[in-house]
């Protein structure tokens, strides 16, 4: 009975053809032209020279204001890894000189305004979002957080304890463990490869936070962005009062950061976890945004491991069913060389097979030019999805601010699609040969080695990571 019913439904579904007079075939469909021009923010300087990007949009009664600060964990002093991250979090978390931390929390949350701050590897942000009617007060609080943070001692203690707890938990998720150890291996010998430890967190004092904030959070070291429902002249006046009148007594002096050591030594690192699926990560240093191969690398990235139809995904997941997640990516560095990292997870008894397959697919893209079809798909995808970088006013102003912040050429956005379109198959091949080095991969594996299909030592001398 059930079978009959199913058959009937299938038959019904088969009636009629997919494409007909009023239904176009997706393979050959033509589209009307799209009208898109890159939206532009207004750039101006406050009285003290701080750059501001403004973009009005009155669709919703919301305003977003951000500060993009030149700082980051690359400036963590030796032995105090974690200082930038703690300073970033406590800038907002620790109150202001006018308001205790609890008063600041109360006032912001009652208004449904938010200010959040965080410092990453080579930049920091403080972002305020508010209903238009609360803009004046929210902006004052935003200014106080930047200029007059309190770094409340008790909140600092809590933040430090939470950082210690996060370290205690850092190996709980085997993926997180592998990700971290790969970064440590790739950037060994450089601040980018230093991971906070219980000792380094414990060594940090409130005075360190204050000094770090005073050194980096200053108007000649940041860019402000404003997006949403505001009045241009009114907000420029307010920003001038809050930030434009702020003139540091001392000249800006950013510490020097050493160059990243260019190592080409392969490594095999292993951490033992009794789990039924192995985490696999491999990679090495990548490129910076100033590399002449940047556009070829973007296309290479898409074809190799950056899309659902990439070579890695197609073979390892779609054809062989070895993994759910598999990809590779060049994380293009701005101030320092970035990384090339490939990642996947597979059941313990296909570990070595998957590592070999992954490595050979990556090596394969260095041996012959990509196909014309692959290159066309990659170009069309990147060029046609370009406009998604500009879908909200906040993303538009932040994009422009970041280009200035990291020193991109002024025509970067205007010429981006054209430069992608101009890349040849030969250039992709040359980029693959220059920037992919399977013989220099740092390989990190987390899993149950008793169940592996082949010993990890078949990939090189294994160093087992001590887990606390």
């Amino acid at each position: 009975m059930r079978t009959c019913f199913t058959t009937l439904l299938i038959t019904l579904c088969c009636l009629g053809t997919a494409w007909g007079a009023d239904r176009e075939n997706p393979r050959t469909m033509q589209f009307p032209p799209l009208h898109f021009t890159i939206p532009r923010a207004e750039r101006l300087l406050l009285d003290n020279g701080t750059p501001v990007y403004l973009l009005e949009d009155h669709e919703l009664p919301i305003v977003t204001v951000s500060a993009l600060i030149h700082t980051g964990s690359v400036y963590d002093p030796p032995g105090k890894s974690g200082l930038a991250a703690l300073t970033g979090a406590q800038l907002r978390g620790g109150g202001t000189t006018r308001l205790t931390a609890a008063q600041l929390d109360d006032e912001l949350e009652y208004m449904a305004s938010s200010v959040e701050s965080s410092f990453g590897a080579d930049s920091g942000t403080v972002t305020m979002t508010t209903l238009t009617r609360n803009l004046p007060r929210s902006l004052e609080l935003f200014g106080d957080i930047l200029h007059h943070p309190r770094f409340d001692e008790q909140r600092f203690t809590v933040a430090r304890q939470r950082a210690l707890e996060a370290i205690r938990r850092q190996n709980d998720d085997p993926k997180e463990l592998a990700d971290r150890e790969l970064i440590r291996a790739i950037y060994r010998g450089h601040p980018l490869g230093v991971i906070p430890t219980a000792a380094s967190i414990t060594a940090i004092t409130r005075t360190d936070l204050t000094a770090f904030q005073q050194r980096f959070v200053r108007p000649d070291n940041l860019i402000i962005t404003v997006a949403g429902d505001f009045n241009r002249n009114a907000i420029v006046d307010r920003l001038n009062r809050l930030i434009g009148s702020w003139r540091p007594a001392t000249p800006l002096a950013l510490p020097a950061v050493p160059p990243v050591p260019q190592t080409v030594t392969p490594e095999v690192l292993f951490a033992r976890k009794r789990i039924n699926q192995t985490v696999i990560r491999l990679g090495h240093l990548g490129i910076t945004k100033d590399d002449p191969d940047l556009y070829a690398v973007r296309l290479l990235d898409f074809i190799l491991g950056g899309s659902f139809t990439s070579r890695l995904m197609m073979e390892i997941r779609t054809n062989q069913g070895l993994a759910y997640n598999v990809d590779s990516a060049f994380d293009v560095g701005r101030r320092f060389p970035g990384t090339f990292i490939a990642e996947t997870e597979t059941k313990a008894d296909t570990t070595a097979r998957t590592i070999s397959l992954m490595t050979s697919i990556i090596a394969g893209i260095r041996t012959a030019p990509v196909s014309a079809e692959e290159l066309t798909l990659a170009k069309e995808s990147i060029i046609n999805s370009f406009l998604f970088a500009f879908t909200t006013p906040a993303s538009i102003v932040n994009q422009e601010a970041r280009l200035e912040f990291y020193g991109y050429p002024p025509d970067y956005l205007d010429r981006y699609r054209q430069r992608i379109a101009a890349v040849t198959r030969e250039e992709v091949l040359q980029a693959a040969r220059r920037h992919l080095h399977p013989d220099a991969f740092k390989l990190v594996v987390v899993g149950d080695d008793r169940r592996f299909d082949r010993p990890l030592s078949s990939f090189g001398a294994v160093r087992t990571l001590p887990l606390p």
Partner: protein, 500 residues
């Protein structure tokens, strides 16, 4: 499909427990249309950028699975990316006999595997090899991932899908001149899907299960906790299925589920962005209008029996402790449901919330706390408190501190300041939700499906505004009882862990 949210687990908080006195801006901007075959279309016109987001939600999820087909809704989510009779294939007529042979072989293999110890290992191995060979042979007709290819070359982004207890959603954003491509692909997928490459994809889903549950201790705790909380209702079963469920999923089972439910009368579409709604009504009508309706998704009639005592479950793993406490609660739309939302905001929304102030800042027992409703909305769900103890404090101390805060809700009326703060936050959230095409499409499809109408969003904040301090005390006393709770604890084993 790339990164499903599956049951959405721990992240729901205010995503499921939503927002809106007068939903600012939403009323008067949503255009609705219902087609003769039952398909519902919701639209909002926004011209911030020349882009559009299109979400299709089927009102069928893992809660609708029978016990012999657990995991099939999620498996189908994967399979519906594999093409149709015209897409994803070079010649369906030639491919079809091979697909049938694959299925017959797989059925034989599973029949043998189902004998467990009495099964013949040699026969299983031979059938496995034959299955692999046939799937390889069928590959010559397959145009791999053609949906992705078409969307991708046309600038589509965020092409994905997710399966939850109550529904399955397929989403994409496109440059607005490409909306017809979406209509063509998605209507073809609703009309004529072909579940090719089934058994390879099943292996992918097993890897997904290992990745998302088996090898991730906090997710394993969640899965175990949920299963312990429900003895009768299918909300307790994992959306992805248990591993042995997945092992016995077949194309036949998947097609049966597919043809029963994946039809226009069980679907809600939201198209938000740079559109002309009248044109979209015609476009969707042209592509989807003639697809025949299917069986309406029936109500799940089994009800969870009232819980008669505290249940406790433990998961031992190579990870630091975690605490989950869950209380059975109402379904979305039930009397008092929004009282739970208010309690959740009181307890864990922001730095001024009660649990954050008490457990994280003052007592410093926990490094993180959260509360949320899970795993669904359509049927009675759970009110969950989750916390990560901060060493040297124990799971037991944290559990007691969480319960103390619930007792405080029973004893002391909450302050008007706290309630007004929550309303202010809701106002902000409902405006912010209007700021992205995808966020709006998500909310419209979700609430149309689980609340019966997206208009739920319009009246929600007014309902919340009527919640009184006495309501909160009443609900807390009635529901946050020892007998009604399940406690899940993650306990650390020695480093390296025990072998599962």
């Amino acid at each position: 499909m790339m990164r499903h949210l599956i049951s959405g687990c721990l992240l729901l908080i205010w995503l499921t427990a939503p927002l809106p006195l007068q939903a600012a801006g939403l009323d008067g901007r949503v255009v609705e249309h219902t087609y003769q075959n039952g398909l519902k279309l919701l639209m909002v016109e926004r011209h911030t950028s020349p882009t559009v987001s299109a979400w299709i939600r089927f009102k069928v999820g893992s809660v609708n699975e029978r016990s012999d087909e657990r995991g099939v809704a999620h498996m189908l989510e994967h399979m519906l990316f594999k093409g149709t009779k015209t897409l994803g294939t070079t010649d369906y007529a030639a491919e079809k006999p091979l697909l049938d042979k694959i299925e017959a072989t797989a059925q034989l293999m599973m029949a043998e595997q189902a004998k467990e110890k009495k099964g013949d290992p040699a026969r299983i191995a031979a059938l496995q090899a034959r299955l692999a060979a046939l799937e390889k042979e069928a590959e010559r007709y397959v145009v791999k991932d053609e949906f992705f290819d078409l969307y991708s070359r046309n600038g589509g982004v965020g092409y994905n899908a997710f399966t939850a207890k109550d529904g399955t959603t397929y989403l994409i954003s496109l440059p607005s001149n490409k909306l017809e491509l979406w209509a063509a692909i998605e209507s073809d997928r609703m009309r004529d899907p072909v579940l090719r490459e089934f058994y390879t994809e099943r292996a992918v889903v097993m890897e997904e299960r290992r990745r998302s549950y088996d090898a991730e201790p906090s997710a394993k705790l969640w899965e175990t906790f949920l299963a312990a909380s429900y003895q009768a209702h299918p909300y307790g079963q994992p959306t992805i299925g248990w591993m042995s469920d997945i092992q016995f999923l077949s194309r036949t089972k998947a097609e049966r589920f597919l043809h029963r439910y994946y039809a226009p009368n069980n679907a809600v579409i939201a198209v938000v962005g740079d559109i002309n709604p009248q044109q979209v009504i015609r476009l969707v009508g042209r592509y989807f209008g003639e697809i025949p309706p299917g069986t309406p998704v029936p109500t799940v009639t089994v009800q969870e029996e009232p819980q008669r005592g505290e249940r406790r479950v433990e998961v031992r793993a190579d990870a630091e402790p975690e605490v989950l406490i869950g209380f059975h609660k109402t379904a979305l739309g039930d009397k008092d449901d929004e009282v739970f939302d208010v309690i959740s905001a009181l307890l864990s929304q922001g730095r001024t919330s009660r649990l954050y102030r008490s457990l994280v800042l003052k007592k410093q027992l926990a490094s993180d706390v959260s509360t949320f409703t899970a795993p669904g909305s359509l049927y009675p769900s759970l009110f969950v408190l989750a916390a990560s103890p901060r060493a040297p404090h124990t799971a037991g101390e944290v559990e007691q501190a969480l319960l103390d805060e619930l007792d405080r809700l029973k004893k002391e009326p909450v302050t008007p300041w706290e309630l007004q703060k929550i309303l202010n936050q809701l106002e902000f959230q409902e405006i912010r939700r209007m700021g992205t095409n995808g966020g709006l499409a998500r909310n419209l499809t979700e609430y149309e499906a689980v609340a019966g109408s997206w208009r739920y969003l319009l009246t929600y904040r007014a309902k919340v505004a009527r919640v009184t301090p006495a309501d909160i005390q009443r609900v807390a006393r009635a529901w946050f009882t020892r007998s009604n709770r399940t406690v899940g604890i993650l306990t650390k084993t020695a480093t390296g862990g025990t072998t599962p």
